[in-house]
């Protein structure tokens, strides 16, 4: 059984691809009622195949001028399809998205059948020909969002889906492509494209430029999808259509190439404002069929875009009509072509792009195969240069990533200073870092400010690169950077806020959150929110102080009542953040701005406030000993609370540990039932924690013994005993 190696550990059985194509074409002719079909073979190792039909109306391609795209704003369906830091949603073809949401997701059978396959642990294949391929793309992304949790490994688990398309039009814009690469999902998409097939190129042209011919082309394709043999199109229309699409493709490709190659002429930008440039960008693995049995495989989106244009250029002017006809006929020629290709299985990976031979008559033997593949696609030196430029750009992005990785030790060092020396110093002054920094009383505060500025320099550089997409697409999903970013944000943003309000910049420019918050914090907050699948704007713990400052200003000018809601919200957040350890307990110190402000709130409010009992943290920070105690089951809860405390504050590797060394706790219980098994006991003794627990037991008190009996043996009486105990507290 032969299989096609697509790189990145993905191989597909060639028989499966052939079967997929025939199913994909068959999907067109099935009743128009059902927009998809499922095929499940009896063999349990075979995947379940969902195939999607195409659409042959102009509105089904271009819903709106000029390119029929819409912003994906479906955070529940497609939370990942956006650029995280810059906070921009991807664009997608509106008609395809509509079709997927209405016809596929709107059909409750679809979700059910997918779930069925998942439960059986079967691999799912989403396939489509022509615009059916775009629907398959969206279905696959929907599946990935729903079933595949973000993982940071590079192996495909058995149930990863695959999406295989044939002559599929472009589907989304550069952010779409960026997001799929960031999530490491683009490897699940395999697109087969015939050298001249016009369909994958159509959306590079605005509808206004091809309006005349597009209708006829769609009629032709529709007729062909029903009956392969009996369909024809006028040479004149075919040539015009081909030339117009190619002219627009040329604009898109040369514009992209100018950017890839780093052109700095301002004219480039001006002219792009005068003409509609297609926003679409490829993603996934592209397999180009050269027409003579070779398969050319590449996955760099910039390179694919260039190849889409260059590979269907003419060799000679005279062949225009011929190629124009072929550009339409080939859309249905995948079966024969793939048959030939799979017999030879002559696949060429265009890698590394930046080392492609520039001249078509390169003789050097080690790149002879690549060179002949490039010649088979008709790639001129100019075309090869564009592919190189795409490769160079990717290489540069990786280089940028390496250079900022080298700065990690500097970041760690500066943060360590703030985390250890500076916090300790503040603690000696009975101040939290925020207040100490805002007062700027000692030279330590000055040192901290220098560290803050050093860190800002490094992070701002990273953010600038992200804004210009100069780092690898995967960057914003990298676990170590997300974590480092979160730590940095929690540690240093309070200092920035302190600096902002210390210098009264709020009076010069406005509130910190609106006018002053640096991008380095906005970006890193979004990283975490995305990585942990949190709702947008929900990880604002690092802006705590800015909220306090603004509320202070508001209260002093408007009084308490008008902003009561905001205060309540902040308190709820504080409680939550402190319990999760996301906000340092030092905000509750007696001299803290927050504490002082809170103490001045109306008494009635304070009595019912949810943070009035927020004591554990406070006790810890004030180095008081904590006693956990309980009677009966309360004792068991006290046991667990004590263990939680020990885990959180006393374990040597706990993140809180080095900040404060709290006094040991004590747990005292009275008539407490047994709580854990022998391993529970063993573990506590191993950690040398057993000594913190003291249980008082009366000689005949039955409660500590109850759990020695299985519930079945005491079922009858136990109910009454509990009742009795409850009535006689």
């Amino acid at each position: 059984m032969a299989s096609l190696n697509l790189g990145e550990n993905i191989e597909i059985d060639t028989e499966l691809i052939k079967k997929a194509y025939s199913l994909a074409v068959k999907a067109h002719s099935k009743s128009s009622e059902k927009a998809y079909n499922v095929e499940e073979s009896r063999r349990s190792s075979d995947p379940v195949i969902f195939s999607f039909s195409g659409c042959w109306s102009e509105n089904g391609w271009y819903d709106g001028e000029p390119f029929g795209v819409t912003e994906i704003n479906l955070p529940l369906l497609f939370p990942s399809l956006r650029s995280i830091g810059v906070n921009e949603n991807a664009l997608v073809n509106k008609a395809f998205l509509q079709r997927f949401v209405d016809k596929i997701l709107g059909n409750s059978d679809f979700d059910r059948e997918v779930q069925k396959a998942v439960k059986k642990n079967k691999q799912i294949l989403f396939i489509g020909h022509s615009s059916g391929g775009s629907i398959a793309n969206l279905a696959t992304i929907w599946f990935l969002e729903k079933y595949i949790k973000p993982e940071y490994n590079y192996k495909i688990s058995p149930s990863s889906p695959l999406c295989v398309t044939f002559g599929c039009p472009l589907t989304g814009n550069h952010i779409f492509s960026h997001a799929l690469r960031r999530e490491n999902w683009s490897r699940y998409f395999i697109h087969f494209v015939m050298r001249y097939d016009i369909v994958p190129r159509i959306l590079l042209a605005p509808i206004s430029s091809i309006k005349l011919e597009f209708q006829k082309v769609l009629q032709f394709l529709n007729a062909k999808s029903v009956n392969l043999a009996h369909a024809s199109i006028d040479n004149f229309d075919a040539s015009n259509f081909y030339m117009k699409v190619m002219k627009n493709a040329s604009s898109v490709a040369s514009h992209a190439a100018c950017n890839l190659m780093g052109n700095t002429n301002l004219l480039l930008e001006t002219v792009s404002n005068f003409i509609p440039l297609s926003p679409y960008k490829p993603f996934g693995t592209y397999v180009f069929c050269t027409g003579n049995g070779k398969l050319v495989i590449l996955r760099n989106p910039d390179a694919v875009l260039q190849l889409l244009f260059f590979s269907s250029q003419l060799c000679r002017e005279e062949e225009c009509t011929d190629i124009a006809q072929r550009s339409l006929q080939q859309h249905f020629g995948y079966d024969n072509e793939l048959q030939d290709c799979f017999q030879m299985l002559n696949e060429v990976h265009l890698e590394p792009l930046e080392q492609l031979p520039l001249s078509s008559d390169t003789t050097s033997s080690d790149i002879a195969t690549i060179n002949s593949a490039l010649n088979d696609l008709g790639l001129s030196t100019r075309a090869r240069l564009c592919l190189c430029a795409a490769g160079e750009l990717e290489k540069r992005k990786i280089g940028n990533k390496e250079s900022i990785d080298l700065k990690k030790p500097d970041i760690e060092k500066a943060m360590k200073y703030l985390e250890e020396d500076y916090q300790l110093n503040c603690r000696h002054r009975d101040l939290g870092c925020y207040d100490a920094f805002k007062l700027q009383e000692t030279s330590k505060d000055f040192d901290a400010n220098v560290k803050r500025l050093e860190l800002a320099g490094i992070w701002d550089e990273i953010i600038e690169m992200l804004k210009r997409y100069e780092l690898p697409d995967a960057f914003e999903g990298l676990r170590d950077w997300v974590l480092l970013g979160t730590r940095y944000r929690r540690l240093v943003e309070p200092l920035d806020i302190a600096n902002y309000y210390r210098h009264l910049k709020n009076e010069d420019t406005g509130a910190y959150m609106i006018r002053g918050r640096p991008k380095r914090y906005r970006f890193t907050q979004r990283w975490r929110e995305h990585a942990e699948r949190m709702p947008a704007e929900s990880s604002g713990e690092s802006c705590f102080w800015a909220k306090v400052e603004e509320l202070r200003i508001k209260i002093s000018s408007q009084g308490f009542e008008p902003i009561k809601e905001e205060v309540l919200l902040l308190e709820a957040h504080v409680q939550n953040w402190i319990n999760l350890g996301e906000l340092s307990g030092d905000v509750l110190l007696e001299k803290s701005t927050f504490k002082k402000w809170w103490e001045d709130l109306p008494r009635e409010h304070k009595l019912t406030s949810c943070i009035k009992d927020l004591k554990v943290r406070k006790a810890v920070t004030e180095k008081k000993q904590i006693l956990f105690t309980g009677h009966s089951i309360g004792g068991s809860i006290a046991n667990l609370a004590t263990i939680w405390f020990l885990e959180k504050y006393l374990r040597s590797d706990s993140p809180d540990n080095y900040k404060i060394s709290p006094s040991s706790p004590l747990c005292v219980t009275f008539g407490c039932p047994l709580t854990g098994n022998h391993i529970f006991s063993h573990a506590l003794r191993r950690e040398n924690w057993a000594r913190y627990f003291i249980h008082f037991v009366m000689r005949y008190d039955i409660i500590p013994r109850i759990l020695l009996a299985p519930v079945s043996s005491i079922l009858l009486e136990f109910q009454r005993v509990l009742q009795f105990l409850n009535e006689n507290p």
Partner: protein, 623 residues
């Protein structure tokens, strides 16, 4: 981009992009129509969202029909209606913006015609973007028209886009014009199509071309444009062509070889140049390279082609517009290995230059320079951002110094502390930091002067804000140092004689920045830095006036001093009332506070002896 020499040559790719759009061919189509149907005028047309306006190449300049000679005029003086207001701003030390007098006159008279006004209005209403185009002299008028529209749109913050496309047009103005356009970030709005040998765009580099020859040349072109057959009627002799060719080539050579050092030419290229040949086109935007390229390409021509090429833009545009369909085939057998060199080879081929030709080498060098010049500003800006992050701690140290002085027991504030500092380490360190920051910012200014930074550098919020903050914090120390070392006795007061140029430049950046926040929100506390960085210099002058007033007897001079002191008092009080001063100003022993005390003492003395100063006490000057 890490290196100065990037690995790709893109001048040809940019030309390919331009050629793939409908802009070039539509523009030429209209120019052509305008040449035949609306001589001495223009025509307008709407295509989709884009409005086109094309100026006919047939224009009569002045009385002599003579576009040459040195009749450049300062734009500001001839621009009575302030049509080009954005170009009136000047960098000090720069020559004023000059443009061709005859062509300016032509445009101004067109602009004042009602037909022009009406058609422009209609175009502005219907279009999202406007292309202004013209062949030959029409193109230069199109350039003026574009400058006017850009100025106008900027003044009313219109989102309309403007692009100027000229075909074989003579230069319009001097280097200052070109720089002013770049400063406004309009460089990308001008695309000048110049064919390989066309002599017209190069004509003005030769100031003394003979009147009669030119006259015949223009006549020939005008007749041919209007109707190709008529060209024969012009009396253009081969000797005349040869003479003009020789003259222009010879002058161009001198200018091209002078390069950047001395701008010997009166006229200077503006915007981008699209050089086209039978084989393709390339696009270059660096002015020096444009001049060099004009020279090198003309060298490959002959007297005949340099005249005929002016009429062949239709062929060139059609050719490049259809290029996209075919794979380019390489004439040259050996393609260089490196991606940069092969890009250069493609560019040369697009210009129809064979690698064996003698100009091939210099053309390559020229492309290389253009590329480097294009990349440098952005690279420099990125480097500056990094070094800014590195000097930030020095600034932080000064902030720290200010805070500790403002809080110390002597109640003097950082200005007076620094001015009266002893030889302590602390003061010396701050002084050192002051020097380091000054040299960083002086370097920024120097780079800006030398065009080594992006042209819109001084509009970027990051730099405007940082420089302002620097100025507010550090300029008081500069003033303190100035008076501490007694420089004012040698050179005169700081404000007039001692202020560093960088601060004046930062003042201007700050004034010209885009303000989005409403500025009337009132301060509730004293500003952290005094908002007028020259405040202390004014205090120093006021102190001197106060000293002088005691010893002065000349009533005229006294009146003058009174007035000054009153003005200062009013100014300072307003700052204080608006809380635009930082706390150090109001400290007990600050120079300002001491001055206020002394001044009120004097005033109360004055009241006692009021008869001695009847004029002033009864007058309006003293409250």
């Amino acid at each position: 981009m890490g290196t100065e020499t990037s690995s790709f040559e893109t001048s040809e790719m940019l030309a390919t992009f331009l050629a793939s759009t409908p802009l070039l061919s539509e523009s030429w189509r209209l120019c052509n129509i305008s040449n035949t149907s609306t001589p001495r005028g223009f025509l307008a047309e709407q295509i989709g969202d884009v409005g086109y306006i094309a100026f006919s190449g047939i224009q009569t300049v002045g009385n002599s029909e003579e576009p040459s000679c040195r009749n450049l005029v300062p734009l500001m003086e001839s621009d009575g209606n302030a049509l080009f207001i954005a170009l009136h701003r000047l960098n000090e030390g720069e020559e004023p913006v000059m443009v061709h007098a005859g062509l300016l006159q032509l445009f101004l008279s067109m602009h004042s015609s009602t037909s022009f006004q009406n058609q422009m209005l209609a175009l502005k209403e219907k279009s999202k973007s406007i292309v202004i185009t013209g062949h030959s002299l029409g193109g230069t008028i199109a350039t003026l028209c574009t400058l006017w529209l850009l100025s106008y749109f900027q003044s009313i913050s219109s989102p309309l886009q403007v692009l100027c496309i000229t075909f074989g047009s003579p230069m319009l103005g001097n280097e200052s014009l070109s720089k002013a356009v770049l400063r406004e970030r309009w460089g990308g709005n001008f695309c000048n199509v110049v064919s390989k040998h066309d002599i017209m765009p190069r004509m003005l580099f030769a100031p003394q071309a003979s009147f009669t020859q030119l006259h015949f040349l223009l006549q020939y072109w005008h007749l041919s444009m209007n109707c190709p057959r008529f060209g024969m009627l012009a009396q253009l002799h081969d000797e005349d062509k040869a003479e003009i060719f020789r003259l222009v080539l010879c002058h161009l050579e001198v200018i091209a070889q002078a390069g950047e050092e001395v701008a010997k030419s009166l006229f200077w290229p503006l915007g981008s140049y699209l050089f086209c040949s039978e084989e393709g086109a390339i696009c270059v935007d660096n002015a020096v390279s444009v001049i060099k390229m004009m020279h090198l390409l003309l060298m490959t021509g002959c007297p005949y082609s340099c005249v005929e090429d002016h009429l062949k833009y239709g062929d060139y545009v059609e050719k490049v517009s259809l290029q996209y369909l075919n794979q380019e085939s390489f004439m040259q057998a050996d393609i260089p290995e490196s991606s940069y060199e092969s890009g250069v080879a493609i560019s040369l081929q697009s210009l129809g230059i064979y690698s064996q030709e003698t100009v091939a080498r210099p053309v390559k060098d020229c492309l290389k320079t253009a590329r480097r010049m294009g990349l440098r500003p952005n690279l420099n800006a990125a480097k500056l951002a990094v070094s800014l992050a590195k000097i930030n701690p020095y600034r932080a140290q000064i902030e720290w110094y200010k805070a500790s002085c403002d809080e110390s027991d002597d109640h003097m504030g950082y200005y007076d502390c620094f001015k009266l500092r002893d030889n302590s380490k602390k003061g010396a360190k701050v002084n050192m930091n002051r020097h380091k920051l000054a040299s960083f910012w002086n370097n920024v200014i120097k780079m800006l002067d030398n065009n080594e930074l992006p042209y819109d550098f001084n509009r970027r919020a990051k730099w405007v804000n940082t420089s302002q903050f620097y100025k507010l914090l550090v300029e008081p120390l500069d003033i303190a140092e100035y008076y501490r070392t007694g420089m004012h006795r040698d050179k005169g007061h700081y404000l007039k004689h001692g202020r560093e140029r960088r601060y004046e430049i930062f003042d201007r950046w700050w004034r010209e920045r885009k303000v989005s926040v409403d500025e009337n929100n009132k301060r509730s506390k004293l500003a952290s830095l005094t908002q007028d960085s020259c405040f202390w210099a004014r205090v120093e002058e006021a102190r001197e006036w106060l000293d002088n007033i005691r010893s002065e007897s000349d009533p005229r001079k006294l009146a003058f001093l009174w007035e000054n002191i009153n003005a200062f008092e009013k100014y300072a009080r307003k700052l204080v009332d608006n809380m635009e001063v930082s706390r150090d100003v109001l400290l007990k022993n600050s120079s300002y506070n001491l001055w206020v005390e002394e001044w009120s003492k004097l005033k109360s003395q004055l009241k006692k002896f009021s008869p001695q100063f009847p004029d002033y006490v009864n007058g309006e000057v003293v409250p």
